[in-house]
Amino acid sequence: MSKSNLNFVKAIGTKMNEHKFLLTYKGDISQDIIKGILALTEKKLELDGTEISLKKKVFNIMVECLQNISHHGQAHENQSKYGLIMIGRDQNDFAIYSSNLITNESVNDIKNKIETVNHASKDELSEMYKEILLSNRLSEKGTAGLGLIDIAKKSGNKLDYHFESFNDNLSYFVLRTLVKPSN
């Protein structure tokens, strides 16, 4: 392979440095892959010397983002279910990005859920969490309907999101969750 053909590797590396990505993954999201990503997340945060409270928040948010993709992510035609997950670090702040395909019908539902948690105080989030915990049964997929509330609780910041049409049936969903030191 000629030298020029390998330039993209350096370009990707430079981009990752610019955005201070601690970890990026794009591809199939299966149970085994999730375990691998979580093990890597833990190791990277540990090597990075992240304080325990932040490390736990980032790890928890990664768990919920990955399991959300695994449970709700859609596959395009015959391709495998795809997901994108990244952890960015700026000084002591972390940003967890996750992206996957969802059905167009679920766009409004997800949007409403995020807007609801974004308008809730810490105490209100806790009340919502307890209410759903008491009233919802686990779905057949094993989901509790608590993922976004839990992500918002752990983050303590507003959730940023973006939807973009992919085709007549599917849309891209991008979620950015911030984790900042409390003092």
Partner: protein, 124 residues
């Protein structure tokens, strides 16, 4: 009654349910995607324990748990709550949390508000 004891893994907790030696604990991580399957033997053991219960001190010392597990944890606590009030045995929950992990302390407080079992939070 036969004890139910399993070792922890990277995404499932160590569980000890031992009414012979009076040791009841969940520790480690609870992140399985399919919580129903994982916790089935636990729920069965506790249901059987409930038929002929004794006083119990249950230690819950989790490092991480996912939202699906929180649903199961509440099911476990509600089952014990019912056993305690119907059969008149004393059941107490010891909620252990890392002293740096405020979220885990708060999670224990939330659970304690949903059941009438006595909770004691202890940091480690």
């Amino acid at each position: 009654m036969e004890p139910y004891i399993i070792a922890g893994t990277e995404d499932t907790p160590a569980i000890t349910l031992d009414s012979v030696n009076n040791i009841y604990s969940f520790s480690g991580r609870s992140l399985p995607e399919d919580v129903n399957t994982f916790y089935k033997p636990t729920m069965e053991w506790l249901a059987k324990f409930g038929e002929n219960p004794k006083d119990m001190q249950m230690e819950i010392k989790l490092e991480y748990f996912n939202t699906a597990s929180s649903k199961i944890l509440l099911d476990i606590l509600m089952l014990l709550d019912e056993v305690s009030s119907e059969k008149g045995v004393a059941i107490k929950i010891i909620w252990m949390y890392d002293s740096n992990d405020e979220d885990m302390l708060e999670a224990g407080e939330e659970f304690s508000e949903l059941v009438s079992l006595p909770f004691e939070s202890k940091s480690y």
